[in-house]
């Protein structure tokens, strides 16, 4: 039974702010591709897409979500970069019994105390990042750490997760500094990191902040002097804007890389053509495609667009597409799939535009994500 | 004696402030080397006439010729460069400049003006207060400064709008002396005055203004004879 004779998906993302490159318009394109690939119709009902800009603000996000549910007959909201916006939408979705599909936001509360029966977290999270990059770096010998942390929920969350991993692997944390968000001049913080003597400077921030920190570390000769940077959340768009010269050698954890196999290359090429401008998709773009496609499949199987029923169906169906191989959704809403530990190529290794990563290893989904046993989500029966 | 050269000739001058039509066809002449006054009650358009000559009124029409050059349509800086200098009724002292800076602000546009020393000789008080902020001067001192600063510029024609307002009698007399001195030096002066007793001591001729028009011209020598007429014009 489909309400009002159609299925409607809303992509709510950052179209104008800091995250509009790594998410933004590209996620709308990705969602539209999913709808097209699904055939544009769901059991004879047309599938519609609408989108809006939440400017990374919780209040705007919640306002739009409410309006979509109330007046636009939207059945599911996808993407949701920025944790604050994602949580705001989750509150509304929960109240209205509708589905939210988080791709861009990173923080783990989305699948812990903020979890919901109709809410899903798709592409990556801070736990997986910490677990991937943190673990790899410590095992490569980076035992002592100093954190530059963006002073907001996501940064705190990412630092905390990474600290846990570092300590669990026998490393120590020599200190940390919380920098304002956003921030453009990192020289002072880098100097503090330098004088701490830590081997690794962990960047618990994202986007422009990470980019600037990395550039300036190079400028101040921090890396030459023997300390290494660990970007805990680095998107391919960040690497692109840093340039390989600045980014080479960096380890990072990602949920997707366009140049992994034929499927990923094929999809990415299609996406790139639709986007124009010779860009390649980030993991958030790919994740959005995957989540929308999975939602449609589940809605088709459930033969309804009623939130709870579709959500149940989504948990039942396995996910198998170019983005996630053997992905599955857990009780807490986490979509568990393989993550990849990658290293940024040297300029000499790169054969063309956007040829940026070497995949070092695959981190199997089961070990990449927070074990269900640690989840504080009330939906998880223990 | 030959007819004196007409330095400034105003013909059928109209001026507006927004919607309100203030000058309704002013016409008068200022011969070179004379001191000419505009007399009239409050609000008849004396100041507006001066502002129109300088080109700083919103809308003006008619003809104002200075040394034969038509100035309607010129911007005020161009008009000033022809050799006119204006001392406004509200004095226009700049608070962000010191007294000294106020003094030297108007650019010298031609040779022939007074030197700074000469100016200070006329107004010694301004030298004493030179470093003070312009608008911190007393009302009367500001008036002196406003007159003093345009004497340096070399303009041949000075437009003085109520230069004696708010001045002590002794200074008023002093200003009278200065105007006479300037006249001797060859300056041409257009003067607006409320105090026609004062005007009588300095001027060559008087134009009486009413309702934005010149309604009469009284040469100074026949002022005494025309006193009753003048008093009735001015409502005294």
């Amino acid at each position: 039974q489909y309400s009002d004779g159609k299925v409607k998906i809303g992509v709510l993302t950052d179209l104008s702010g800091t995250y509009s490159d790594l998410a933004g318009k590209g996620t709308i394109v990705a969602a539209q591709m999913a709808i097209d690939d699904f055939g544009g119709k769901l059991n004879g009902q047309p599938i519609e897409l609408i989108s809006a800009d939440h400017q990374n603000k919780a209040d705007i996000a919640s306002g739009i979500a409410r309006k979509w549910y109330d007046t636009e007959q939207v059945d599911a909201i996808a993407e949701l970069v920025t944790t604050a916006a994602a949580i705001a939408v989750r509150e509304v979705s929960k109240e209205k019994g509708k589905i939210d599909l988080v791709s861009g936001a990173a923080s783990t509360p989305l699948t812990n105390d903020k979890c919901s029966a109709t809410g899903f977290h798709w592409t990556y999270d801070t736990y997986a990042l910490a677990n991937g990059t943190g673990d790899a770096v410590v095992k490569n010998g980076g035992k002592t750490w100093f954190f530059l942390t963006a002073d907001y929920a996501f940064g705190h969350n990412l630092q905390a997760q990474t600290e846990k991993v570092v300590k669990a692997n026998g490393g120590t944390v020599k200190g940390s500094v919380k920098h304002p968000f956003p921030n453009s001049d990192f020289s002072s913080f880098l100097l503090q990191a330098q004088s701490s003597g830590a081997q690794i400077i962990g960047l618990a921030n994202a986007g422009a902040d990470t980019i600037n920190a990395i550039k300036q570390a190079k400028e101040f000769g921090i890396t030459q002097a023997g300390q290494s940077l660990a970007g805990l959340l680095v998107f391919i768009t960040d690497v692109h804007s840093l340039g390989l010269e600045n980014a080479q050698g960096m380890m990072l954890t990602t949920g997707f890389y366009w140049d992994m196999d034929d499927q990923t290359r094929a999809w990415s090429k299609r996406w790139s053509e639709k986007m124009g401008g010779g860009k390649m998709p980030s993991m958030v773009h790919a994740g959005t495609y995957s989540q929308v496609l999975h939602y449609l499949r589940a809605a088709a199987a459930a033969k309804t667009d009623e939130g709870i029923k579709v959500a149940d169906e989504m948990r039942k169906l396995p996910i198998n597409d170019f983005f996630a191989k053997n992905g599955k959704i857990r009780a807490d809403g986490r979509m568990v799939h393989d993550m990849y530990l990658a290293q940024v190529k040297k300029p000499s290794e790169s054969k063309g535009p956007w040829d940026y990563y070497k995949i070092i290893r695959t981190i199997p989904g089961d070990t990449a994500y927070q074990p269900l046993s640690e989840s504080t989500c009330p939906l998880v029966k223990k | 004696m030959a007819e004196p050269e007409i330095l400034l000739s105003v013909r059928d001058l109209h001026a507006h402030y927004g919607e309100s039509h203030v000058l309704h066809g002013m016409s008068f002449d200022v011969p070179r080397g004379e001191v000419v006054t505009l007399l009239g009650r409050n609000g008849v358009g004396k100041t507006t006439t001066m502002r129109s000559i300088m080109g700083i009124v919103g809308k003006r029409a008619g003809s104002v010729k200075y040394q034969g050059t038509e100035t309607i349509g010129l911007s005020s800086n161009r008009i000033a460069r022809l050799g006119l200098a204006f001392c406004p009724e509200e004095r226009g002292i700049f608070s962000s400049l010191s007294v000294k800076e106020n003094m030297v602000l108007p650019p010298v546009i031609k040779p022939g003006g007074l030197s700074l020393d000469e100016v200070y000789q006329l107004f010694p008080r301004l030298l004493e207060r030179g470093s003070s902020q312009g608008t911190k001067l007393s009302g009367g001192e500001q008036q002196m400064l406003a007159i003093a600063r345009i004497l340096r510029t070399g303009a041949d024609m000075l437009l003085l709008d109520e230069p004696t307002e708010g001045l002590a009698p002794v200074i008023v007399q002093h200003i009278g002396d200065i105007i006479r001195t300037l006249r001797e030096k060859g300056f041409t002066i257009l003067l607006v005055e409320q105090n026609f007793h004062f005007a009588a001591t300095v001027a060559d001729r008087h134009y009486v203004v009413e309702h934005g028009q010149v309604i009469d011209m009284i040469p100074n020598e026949s002022l005494a004879a025309n006193m009753d007429k003048l008093k009735s014009y001015l409502g005294v």
Binding site: - | R41, N42, G43, E89, R125, R129, S132, K136, L137, S138, G139, G140, E141, Q143, M144, E162, E165, G166, L167, A168, P169, V170, I171, V172, Q173, H174, Q194, N195, H197, F198, L234, G235, V236
Partner: protein, 284 residues
């Protein structure tokens, strides 16, 4: 004003009172001082604008303050009304020391000033200008919850005042649109609305045409009936005509004091202020 008041003590109308003491400038008229300054001094960054001035203004007189430009007259005004803080010295009003009182409080004690540059409330109508002053005494000014209608009870008095200064026909015109002379008149009406004991007028005639000067002088004379006025004015005929006592300032100090006749006989004053051919009284 129509209701000329009768001096309680003498039973004479104020004009009569003034007559009786005017000829000698009333210097002997005793010690009923309304304002007194003691060694009043004001320095601006090392420049002494007012220096050691002892001013004594007697009740129910018109006291003029004259002097060359920059002598410190306006500064004295500002000090007495506390718009400036004196560097040294003391100010007494009705025997109370007001050296440390706030300007608004001084106004409430009955000493109100006008400004050298005309001061009206440009966006308020003529009637409202006067009502704002009346309202202060009415005591409702903090009542933000009351309707403005309650101010209408002041209209009658306000109309009386604007009638008295001759601007009644502009009752509902915004004050900003009045001509200069009428603004000054309105300012006086507003000041009178406070029914002050003491009025300070800074160059009330400045910039007025001859006809307005005469009208305003008349007005000042009328309102002086049962008040004290301290006035700065350069128009000597007005000063001669109106004032009981004149204080001449020069370079911040008192140069001379006395009646008009006494002042004009003082060669120092003539030299510093009136100038050689002081036909001053003839002006206007």
């Amino acid at each position: 004003m129509n209701n000329i008041q009768v001096d309680v003590e003498t039973g004479k109308t104020p004009t009569q009172v003034r007559r009786t003491r005017s000829p000698q400038g009333g210097v002997r008229m005793g010690d009923d001082l309304i304002v007194e300054t003691r060694s009043l001094t004001k320095e601006f960054k090392g420049f002494v604008a007012v220096s050691d001035v002892n001013l004594k203004v007697r009740r129910h007189t018109i006291h003029a303050l004259i002097g060359p430009n920059g002598a410190g007259k306006t500064t004295c005004f500002n000090l007495v009304t506390k718009f400036l803080t004196p560097t040294r010295g003391q100010i007494l009003f009705n025997g109370n020391d007001i050296t440390h009182t706030q300007p608004a409080a001084i106004a409430r004690q009955g000493m109100v000033r006008s400004f050298q540059i005309s001061a009206v409330f440009g966006h308020l109508t003529v009637l409202e200008n006067v009502r704002v002053a009346l309202q202060r005494k009415q005591g409702k000014s903090f009542q933000f919850w009351r309707s403005g209608e309650c101010l209408n009870e002041l209209n009658a008095r306000a109309e009386e005042l604007i009638e008295a200064v001759g601007v009644a026909e502009y009752r509902d015109t915004p004050a900003g649109e009045l001509s200069y002379g009428r603004k000054r008149a309105l300012e006086i009406a507003t000041t009178l609305a406070l029914d002050p004991e003491m009025l300070l007028l800074d160059e009330p005639m400045a910039g007025m045409g001859t006809e307005d000067v005469r009208r305003t002088a008349e007005l000042i004379r009328r309102v002086a009936a049962n008040r004290t006025i301290l006035m700065v004015e350069h128009n000597l005929s007005v000063v001669a005509d109106l004032s009981d006592t004149i204080t001449v300032l020069k370079l911040g100090r008192v140069l001379a004091e006395g009646s008009y006749a006494e002042i004009t006989d003082n060669p120092e004053v003539v030299e510093a202020y009136m100038g050689a051919g002081h036909g001053g009284a003839g002006h206007g």
